[in-house]
Each structure stands twice: as structure tokens, then as C-alpha cells.
Amino acid sequence: MAASLRVNIVFAADFRSVDQARGTLLVLCRGAFPLQQEAVSDFCMAANEAMNNAVEHSGCSLLEVELHADDQSMTFRMSSDGERFDPTGSAAMPEPDELGELPEGGYGLALIQEFVDGMAYQYRDGKNVVTLVKNINKGV
């Protein structure tokens, strides 16, 4: 990409708004990195899970999302009010139970950690701030 990209989106904390935000991120990232579609797809999947987690677990009312992209990486930073919620702890992929049945939930954090290269969390001024970074492999 020739220049860096920086976009801010603020939206109500509900799943439909998350859908719209994810769609916007996908369009912007695909446009910025047309040759790195898998990295873009992974990045947007992780961002989607982070936004879903905020809506589902923190009881927030608003989400503020910042996308920054340059030649090296894509960065997603999300600020949300609501309960403190740290998604950076160890999150193993859920295992089947003793009957061999998979659990229906609990995959979100593990998927985030699988799909991005860096993840950070801060609780700042009463807000959860989650940062996800996906490196761009220019050789691909």
C-alpha cells in the first residue's frame, strides 16, 4: 500500500452494528491489501470476535474502533465502556467432553489468539482497550 490508513468508527454495542463494522473493516483492509486476502480474513475474524465479546460480556453501550494499516501491519484498537473484560489470558481451544461432544461456545478468545500476531489489553479511564495486530507478509 502506498500510504497508511487510519479510520475511526463509533457505534452502538449490538450484534447488528458489529456486522456493519466488520463489513467496513473488511472492505477497507481488502482495498489496502488486495494480495493478502488470508491475512485480511484472519484479521477481520479476530476483530469480529473481539467486538462480539465486548457486546456479550462487558455490558458496554458504545464501541469505538480504530483501524490503522501501513506497509507492515494492520492494527485494530477497540475501546468500550462497561465491565472490565481482559481477553488476553490463556485461552485454549475447547475440547470435546467425555461423550465426544464439542461445546457450543468458548471458541472466541482462542480464535482471536490464533488469527492475530499480537494482542494487548488495558483498562484506561473506565474503558476496556483491546489492541490486535496482524503482520503483513509481503512475500505472499
Binding site: F15, D19, N48, E49, N52, M93, G100
Partner: protein, 120 residues
């Protein structure tokens, strides 16, 4: 997301269109619950027009699979796009839920389960 339904050789083929995500998962689970109420136990989910699936979407497929298995039925998913297939692979759900490359292969897979007498 919307879900179109058709019958092929006593198998219900569900054709969801759009994104299988947190905002739409109740639709799939609700549709499968209604099918079971009406005694339809063998379901193929044609995912060729699912562009994006998140962990909630995966959870709804796992839930549908459990419901159908508990009713001595079966579920298979067919024609996954690469991003959707990756979610199955990374979560290892592909080891527990029957996947097929095409709708035709998925129908064959379910017919084999029908011949075996149940979904297991």
C-alpha cells in the same frame, strides 16, 4: 441471513445465504428445531453461500448437530468457502461434524447415515 429449504431424497437441504454470525444464529437453530418437531431428522447444510462464519455461527452448527444426533438423525455441512473451512479446521470441529466438498457428496454422506439407521 436467510435460509432456503428444499427436499432431496428425504433429506432436508438448508441453503443459508449471507453471514452465519452472532446476530443470526438463532435462525439456524430455530429452523432445525422446527424440522425435528416435524420428524425431519436428516439435514444437509449447503454452506456455499455463507461468506463469513464466526464462533457463534460455529456454535449454532454444533448445537444443530447435537439436536439431530439426539433424534437419531444426522447433519452434514457441504461446499464450505475457505474462510469458513478454516474456522472448522482451527477449532477441530471438522473432526466431529461431517463435511463434504459438494452438495452431492454431502447428500451421499447423509444417505449412508440413513442406511446405517441413525446419525451415529
Amino acid at each position: 441471513m436467510e435460509i432456503k429449504t428444499e427436499m432431496v431424497n428425504d433429506i432436508v437441504v438448508l441453503n443459508p445465504v449471507g453471514n452465519l454470525v452472532a446476530s443470526s444464529v438463532e435462525l439456524l437453530k430455530g429452523r432445525v428445531e422446527k424440522l425435528i418437531e416435524k420428524k425431519f431428522r436428516f439435514v444437509l447444510l449447503d454452506m456455499s453461500r455463507i461468506d463469513f462464519m464466526d464462533s457463534s455461527g460455529l456454535g449454532s452448527i454444533i448445537a444443530a448437530n447435537k439436536l439431530l444426533s439426539a433424534s437419531s438423525g444426522a447433519l452434514a455441512c457441504a461446499a464450505l468457502q475457505e474462510g469458513v473451512r478454516k474456522v472448522f479446521r482451527v477449532t477441530r470441529a471438522d473432526q466431529r461434524i461431517a463435511l463434504a466438498e459438494t452438495q452431492s457428496e454431502g447428500l451421499l454422506l447423509i444417505q449412508q447415515r440413513m442406511i446405517q439407521g441413525n446419525g451415529r
